[in-house]
Symmetry: C2
Subunit: 150 residues, 2 copies
DNA sequence: GTCGAATCATTCATGCTCTGAATGATGTAT
DNA sequence: ATACATCATTCAGAGCATGAATGATTCGAC
């Protein structure tokens, strides 16, 4: 048996635990970095979703994000106030509110991208270029498997 | 420039965003799987800390976990009620409560390990053995860099 | 030794995020 | 036309975590 394939003997040694904990740390840093932009991670998640899928109803957004529709109301309220998204009644079905990114929203997402790239750099700064590349590829696979945007 | 090293052009493509989101999903599954054990992820985090460091005061635990000392009170209350940890006044400094894992706590951690191993299997089931090994190694590096237990 | 400041655990009130039920508006089927 | 389903919205409340206040113990200056 190769050393690489030894089973973890403690919870702390598992990949799930490590990704969970690293994810929490990253999310905390992300949250802090978003304060000047007047955004929370969920707002970025919503904008990212619209970026990937184009205009969508609030219910679709709620399903894709795995949150209650009532939460989308609050998130969309805030993003609309910032001018980041448009919110119009679907002419074909006037029950639905269609959300879409505005040019301002795209610009805001650009700022968020800078933040996450900075986080990436901090996170993987200690890694060699080869490991970093493999990690990026594997995460891409796992993200696709989990149904994350893009 | 190699394809592997292209910079992400969207927030969703960054490693930080992906680890954050995957971490949230894993934590949610972990939380659900812990219900029968009457535990929350933070309880497991506390027990894991004691497993790695041995007995520790509540304040030390709070610092290591990055939470308020008052939260440790609640977590320790619950774990003590389950018989998973012992809680004794430090004879050398009677202000401090020394927490330590009991045999029952170790057994409980064993159950938690099964859960996380199962999560690992689900998570990396679609990966080849080589990618899985690299991922495990890289996560180990990142975890150590972030100061996680073990 | 004694007094005042510092340290640790604990309690409690509060804030924040999110959910689920209730409401109203619109659409669909018979 | 009527009954039912769907979508957005509001609102009350649950759950988790924090920070201030309290009490017990220890440490340091004198």
């Amino acid at each position: 048996m190769r050393v690489d394939e030894v089973k973890p003997v403690s919870v702390a040694g598992t990949m799930a635990f490590r990704i969970g904990t690293l994810g929490a740390i990253l999310t905390e840093r992300f949250t802090a970095a978003l304060v000047p932009l007047d955004l929370k991670p969920k707002h970025v998640g919503l904008m990212t979703l619209l970026e990937a899928r184009g205009a969508a109803s609030q219910l679709d957004v709620a399903k894709a994000m795995g949150v209650a529709p009532s939460l989308v109301v609050t998130l969309a309220d805030h993003l609309e106030r910032l001018g980041a998204i448009s919110r119009v009644r679907d002419p074909g079905d006037r029950r639905r509110q269609l959300l879409d990114l505005t040019a301002e929203g795209r610009a805001l997402l650009g700022r968020c991208l800078e933040v996450t790239l900075e986080l990436d750099a901090e996170l993987t700064g200690g890694l060699g270029p080869r490991d970093r590349a493999v990690l990026a590829r594997v995460l891409s696979t796992l993200a696709a498997q989990a149904g994350l945007p893009v």
